[in-house]
Symmetry: C2
Subunit: 217 residues, 2 copies
DNA sequence: GCCGTAAGCTTACGGCGTAAGATCACATAC
DNA sequence: GTATGTGATCTTACGCCGTAAGCTTACGGC
């Protein structure tokens, strides 16, 4: 008989496959049984390399966190802006990751390191301990919160024509004039405006923060 | 035999019970079987009053949406601020609701009405169609996104002493000086500062938006 | 050859949402 | 009274899920 030797399992292979499934089919479609199947093994065999499903989720979350660059401590607000945009883009590439990040009990070392770097950068930028406390919430909430919000709004259009039909039926111009217009704006120039919404709001926040810092100096 | 007549089921009774379970034990603890049990009926009996679990989730989401007041069209930025704070407080009272709101396929009429009112209010406040497009994203993303972010951070401290122990072990002052300090700030004056974080960031955004409007006039 | 160990597989348990059909309570018609 | 119809409720079952427990297999060192 043909010795069709499968490449053996390993934590890295499992995590890579899990990340692919999550990216392509969504995090809710990621089950141990299905993951085993895509790898050509039984579900229970995965447990030789992964402690539990939570451990697996931690693993793929770490892969996403590795795509983010914490701000340099002495980079000031520009460094914060750069790193916020990078973090947001990582969370856009893997829309399920923000959800995972907000699950309790999944605080990863890389996440802690990011928080620490952001705080250090704020202090280095000249904010007092007191203002840093608030400014940190502002920036972190914007990065993660906006990504969470956005993930829900990019919910699988499936079919452009279906979406259009749904839109005209659910949001007629007569009853929702402004919302109808807003929807048209979204369709007319595609996702490139949506893309910059994160940075648009981020700049509003950073601008106000910079002003706040100037005042307390 | 004692005729211990149960009060019969009804959609309202089911929704009220479901909302209570979600508030007290979290949305993930809400199952049809458990819900039936708390009401004294079999799980399948609920389906006489509720089309599906999704329908039930829509129902309790509607209850939360009913706690929000859309901004008056002619109220300007102050009305937007008031309504944003009210919406955020509703989402804080029911932390699972923001998650539900972001699930695809759960767009509720009340949600559409809120979006429409927010857009109308922005136009009424003097923003151009173009700026309104972005400003809307800014405000809506802050309301929902911040609530989502916050819901994850208030994750069941369970035991204050355990939390403290976890904190000191995971975030020692030596390796995470700034994050350690930040954690202490959280503990020292409790949740009342956290409470205003939403409004702090909201005011930064609205301030910048007002400036933006002034410029384009 | 023997044996320990790790990797993989099988079976099973208790949970989930819910389809299908049986049963029961009760209002109305005769 | 009895018969009939109609809804509410319950029972059973199916196919998912995560994973505990135990079994089989492959292989390296003696």
């Amino acid at each position: 008989m043909a010795t069709t030797k499968r490449k053996p399992l390993s934590r890295d292979r499992i995590l890579a496959a899990a990340l692919a499934v999550a990216d392509e089919q969504g995090i809710e479609a990621l089950s141990m049984r299905k993951l085993g199947q895509t790898l050509g093994f039984e579900a229970m065999s995965l447990y030789n390399h992964v402690a539990s499903k939570d451990d697996l989720l931690d693993g793929i979350l770490d892969l996403v966190l590795a795509e983010m660059d914490p701000p340099a401590p002495d980079g000031g607000l520009p460094a914060i802006r750069r790193s916020a945009v990078a973090a947001h883009e990582a969370l856009r590439r893997h829309p399920w990751a923000a959800q995972l990040l907000m699950l309790p009990g999944h605080v990863r070392p890389a996440r802690l390191a990011y928080m620490e770097a952001l705080l250090a950068c704020l202090r280095g930028a000249g904010f007092s301990a007191d203002v840093t406390y608030h400014a940190y919430h502002v920036v972190d909430a914007h990065i993660v919160g906006f990504s969470l919000w956005q993930a829900s709004h990019s919910a699988a259009p499936a079919n452009v024509e279906d979406m259009r039909e749904w839109f005209e039926r659910m949001i007629p111009a007569e009853t929702f004039p402004n919302l109808h217009e807003h929807g048209l704006q979204h369709m007319h120039d595609g996702p490139h405006r949506e893309l910059s919404a994160f940075e648009f709001a981020l700049d509003l926040l950073l601008e106000s923060l910079a002003k706040l810092r100037a005042k307390t100096r």
